[in-house]
Subunit: 205 residues, 2 copies
């Protein structure tokens, strides 16, 4: 890659990073202005357009990138689970760690999920869908579920986890433990219930 393209990429990164860094509990992506992001990235407002058509395009980039980061981290965590132990417990712990080290990635996903732009909502939904279908396949194979049931179960699990994540963002580390415990309990409910419903269906044939 030429010097020029390299520099361009660097500036683009600076923009994305600047935007991520400005997110917080008090600041959502949609409340960021183009000028603020440019300022934080150390470039002139008008230079922004050399990289993104508008803030929307930057935001979508962030959602995609964030979702990817999350999935990679969760996948890495899942490898730990293969060593044995409760899949649920280990997944929840991994999730909480990921949350703690990437709060802003989470914030943009959570907020824009119920956001004001259809494109954003769709993008977030796509990311969540990745989690759901990965999990559904896993359960379908592992626990011998009907696709329909596996899907419903996986979706319920993911929703509960994401929701707990949203709550966790507002909590101190000490309070998160209790949250995690309750989440584990809820996930077990779903898993147990799905199993029971599956059995009932199997017996009926």
């Amino acid at each position: 890659m030429g010097v020029r393209a390299q520099q361009k990429e660097k500036t683009r990164r600076a923009l994305v990073d600047a935007a991520f860094n400005q997110l917080s509990a008090e600041r959502s992506f949609s409340s960021l202005s183009l000028r603020e992001v440019a300022r934080e990235a150390g470039i002139a407002p008008t230079s922004f357009y050399r990289h993104f058509k508008d803030m929307n395009e930057l935001g979508l980039t962030m959602v995609d990138e964030g979702g990817l980061t999350l999935r990679q981290m969760m996948r890495k965590g899942r490898q730990r689970a293969e060593a044995g132990g409760s899949v649920i417990r280990i997944s929840v712990d991994t999730f909480m760690e990921v949350l703690e080290s990437n709060p802003n990635v989470f914030r943009i996903l959570l907020h824009e999920r119920s956001g004001t732009s259809a494109a954003f909502r769709a993008a977030v939904e796509r990311e969540i869908e990745h989690f759901i279908s990965e999990l559904a396949h896993y359960t379908e194979a592992q626990a011998n579920r009907t696709p329909l049931l596996a899907r419903a179960q996986a979706e319920a699990l993911v929703i509960l986890v994401f929701n707990a994540g949203a709550s966790a963002l507002d909590l101190k580390r000490s309070e998160r433990k209790a949250l995690a415990d309750q989440l584990v309990l809820q996930l077990r409910m779903v898993a147990t219930g799905a199993e029971a419903l599956q059995q009932k269906m199997d017996n009926r044939t």
Copy 2:
């Protein structure tokens, strides 16, 4: 109430209604400006301050009012359930009807739940908490659950319902049916799972 106070109340209502009416899939409360709301309500921007300290105060009013509306409607729907039939099915159907007739009430709750103001998040959480504890008491009595289990179960149920509501907002009426069906399935999973876990606990003593 004097003529004066009456007129004031009327204008206040006009402001609240104006704000609600401007909400849509493309427009969140936090993206509304004070001037827009005043314009829609037919008053001068500066007159806004005769009724609310700032937009934040208006928003909190809307959350409280919206939450109340929702709870009243759900309660009315629950009376239908007493006539017999699946509690879960009837509740879900009621919920979907409420959603359809008050989409904007829902929008503000859903959006501000993951919003940028701690006060808003707390207010929404308070409203959701109402639902959860009402439901937890119901299950505790009805199904003889441990408080801890009842709470976890109720929370899971409410989260799944609200989440489905968020998805439903983006769907056509025809597509909502499938969503409702899956939601029912998920709620049954939780209920069945909670029951199983409760049994297991009871047997252990």
